[in-house]
């Protein structure tokens, strides 16, 4: 015959919360802010997007007219490529006459690395540092383009956030 088990009320003073060990000890206010904020709190730069069949010449006009450093190529609102100033310098400037009439899908860098609105600035900084990117598209949970983040916006965010410190 089994003995009945006696239940004891837990002693709240001896309770060890297992989640406590997962709390991050930030080294500084800067460290905490960069990890805990979301990209939604960073002002995203003005950005432009085009369809893949837009001509390279039209995209260059757009970049010059809006004074922007990159254009995101989208299909049904989802980024499928990106054309940046560096792409223009590296690939297009040598034979621009040949490129101007071709679709941007021929010249773009396909499948760009993206970050999500909910990612932290620390994550975005790491992506930009490791990938050597100056601009990274931002997407929502459905993968739709919502903005482009660049190094200038990140540093402005830092300066604004810590202006009073």
């Amino acid at each position: 015959m089994l003995k009945p088990r006696h239940r004891h009320e837990p002693d709240p003073t001896s309770f060890d919360d297992p989640l406590r060990r997962y709390e991050t000890n930030y080294r500084s206010d800067l460290d905490r802010t960069l990890h805990e904020d979301a990209m939604e709190s960073v002002e995203m730069m003005p950005f432009a997007c085009v369809e893949p069949n837009t001509s390279v010449g039209r995209v260059i006009q757009l970049m010059a007219g809006l004074d922007i450093a990159c254009v995101v190529v989208v299909r049904r609102d989802r980024p499928v490529g990106i054309l940046s100033e560096r792409d223009v310098l590296d690939r297009l400037s040598c034979d621009y006459d040949l490129w101007a009439g071709r679709p941007v899908s021929d010249a773009m860098t396909p499948d760009p690395v993206v970050v999500h609105e909910t990612d932290s600035p620390a994550h975005v900084l790491n992506v930009m540092d490791v990938g050597m990117f100056r601009h990274v598209p931002i997407v929502d949970a459905d993968g739709r383009l919502t903005g482009v983040i660049g190094a200038r916006r990140i540093t402005r965010y830092l300066q604004r956030h810590f202006a009073s410190v």
């Binding site: 206010d29 800067l30 490791v130």
Partner: protein, 157 residues
């Protein structure tokens, strides 16, 4: 002193500075572009015969030129360069760098030695690397791929 103040007082010399390609004023825009491509950097400094900087040509000006006059790539770069060149010494602080870039909407700043000759270029990407390396110790760092591969297969802007 707060962390940001620490960051702002770090010296430009602590940043990952980029090479500084230079061309003479009578070089063509195509030659200036080639110098940028060769050094994998987005700007080139135009120097006089004494080696002193007199202007800058960069990717932004290239885009504008392609949009307006794509036939001008064979012209002298001196005709199309930005003449208001902002320079900073190696001893300047990152705060000085950010202020200079923000006030003049610059993407690149030419770093000069004590004689005023260009020694490097720096921009916001160097600053980002500095922040990640020195101020974000807990960010998971992926081993950087070789820079030439990163440029060849770069997926962002």
């Amino acid at each position: 002193m707060s962390t940001l103040n620490h960051l702002m007082h770090d010296r430009i010399g602590q940043l990952d500075l980029r090479p500084c390609p230079t061309v003479h004023p009578l070089a063509t825009v195509d030659e200036a572009n080639a110098a940028m491509r060769h050094n994998r950097v987005g700007a080139v400094i135009i120097v006089d015969q004494a080696g002193k900087p007199i202007g800058m040509f960069n990717e932004k000006l290239l885009i504008r030129l392609l949009a307006e006059r794509p036939d001008a790539l064979g012209e002298h770069v001196v005709r199309h360069m930005a003449r208001h060149l902002h320079t900073l010494p190696l001893s300047a602080s990152i705060g000085d760098l950010l202020d200079t870039m923000r006030m003049h909407s610059l993407r690149w700043v030419c770093v000069v030695d004590i004689t005023g000759r260009p020694v490097a270029l720096t921009g916001l990407r160097g600053l980002i690397t500095h922040v990640v390396e020195n101020y974000l110790p807990d960010v998971v760092k992926v081993h950087p791929i070789e820079s030439h591969l990163a440029m060849a297969f770069r997926e962002g802007a």
